[in-house]
Symmetry: C2
Subunit: 245 residues, 2 copies
């Protein structure tokens, strides 16, 4: 039996004009699209296409389901928002492959997408124009003390920073703690950007200093960008110069 | 006089199927495309379009030229490979705006693209599937000792890493030094990926351990990815689990 590859595709931050032609082509050929409910909702229904929308908390089950369908010869696309390799479904699929030798023969193709931090950076200027780091602030999958240590070392290294999953209903206090750490390490004047639902009709971007920043400025749809010590405003834009130390 | 926005667009890593429709639309409407020679070479000639290809070393001049043309009413697109906000032209344009108050009225639109590290990660699996950092290894614009310090702190923080501009003819020894530092901080078994010209016909990707890594494995067209302590192989793929510390 010929086994079709399992495709893991990034839908970008929301605007259809940011979906790559590579991803569009894969979706056109798919028999099955699998993903978290709001991402699958972005895929138009058509004859011959089965949409499998599941809750966010079951990533490994979703990955296993996708592998089973691909192994059975279906043309499966697992969809993530942004880029599937950045805090999204790609790692979950490889975890499922590792756990189940029966999937060792399934070919996997990861199709990159525009990830939220780069879409947000583009909308406000170029705040990630120098060395930067990318941190998932959720402690669902790692101890919070590792997050705190990582934040301090990143600040000491002089990185600009991007935070995914900065806040959720089940973790209301951690972003406030992260902001306290950043104020200790970077001082009150450092610029911070709260970018919500970028490139969608609900987009809302605010630029404040760390002194002004409050955890309530973020929700589940927000990516947070923190400048380095050279990051500054020019007109309505925020950018980090190339010569920053 | 109405001033048209200056567009700064990312062409992605090389494959045309990775150029977003947003960027394609901007190029279709452009009167002038400006950029480094090999990136402008990717834009098809057509009537009404002037291509301005310049050398890599004159980014600020190129940015100023683009702003002058936009201020004169031309529809200008500055092109970068990858994403314009990641070690590319966006920061240079904002530097030029900051230096020249006569450009304060020019509206600037940054259009994101698929950046090399995420294209490379997708081709090999999901090596950047957990917290990571992105470092420009060139010391053209910063002292080398800052690079060394940043590498050590990034390793201590447990980040996976992506390196842009790892090696050039004028800087042949720095990547060797960086690899020495990584071996000291991360040990010999850490996985490292040399990904050259990803998504082009010249693509070449090799996965080795730090013990096996040599600076000659990289050139100007290579992006280098370093795993964290949990990064591993599964079949022909390399991935970093979501639960990595």
């Amino acid at each position: 039996m010929t086994v079709t590859p399992l495709v893991i595709a990034g839908l970008g931050p929301g605007d259809e004009a940011l979906i790559t032609p590579e991803v569009t082509a894969a979706l056109t050929e798919a028999t099955d699209v699998i993903g978290y409910i709001p991402y699958v909702a972005r895929i138009p229904a058509r004859e011959g296409l089965t949409l499998h929308a599941t809750d966010n908390r079951v990533e490994l089950e979703r990955a296993t389901h996708a592998l089973e369908l691909a192994a059975a010869g279906r043309r499966v696309v697992v969809v993530s928002s942004g880029d599937p390799g950045v805090f999204a479904m790609a790692s979950a699929v490889f975890e499922a492959v590792e756990q189940s030798p029966r999937f060792a023969h399934v070919e996997i193709r990861v199709l990159p997408g525009i990830t939220a931090m780069l879409a947000a950076a583009a909308r406000i200027g170029a705040p990630l124009g120098h060395d930067f780091c990318t941190i998932n602030l959720s402690d669902n999958l790692k101890p919070w003390d590792i997050v705190e240590r990582r934040l301090r070392l990143a600040a000491q290294a002089g990185f600009a920073m991007a935070f995914y999953n900065p806040r959720s209903a089940s973790r209301p206090h951690q972003l406030a703690r992260a902001l306290d750490i950043l104020r200790e390490e970077c001082g009150p004047d450092r610029l911070i950007i709260f970018a919500r639902a970028v490139t969608t009709p609900e987009e809302r971007i605010s630029v404040v200093t760390l002194a002004e920043a409050r955890a309530e400025m973020a929700d589940m749809r927000t990516v947070v960008l923190v400048g380095n010590e050279a990051t500054r405003r020019v007109g309505r834009y925020v950018y980090t110069p190339r010569r920053a130390g």
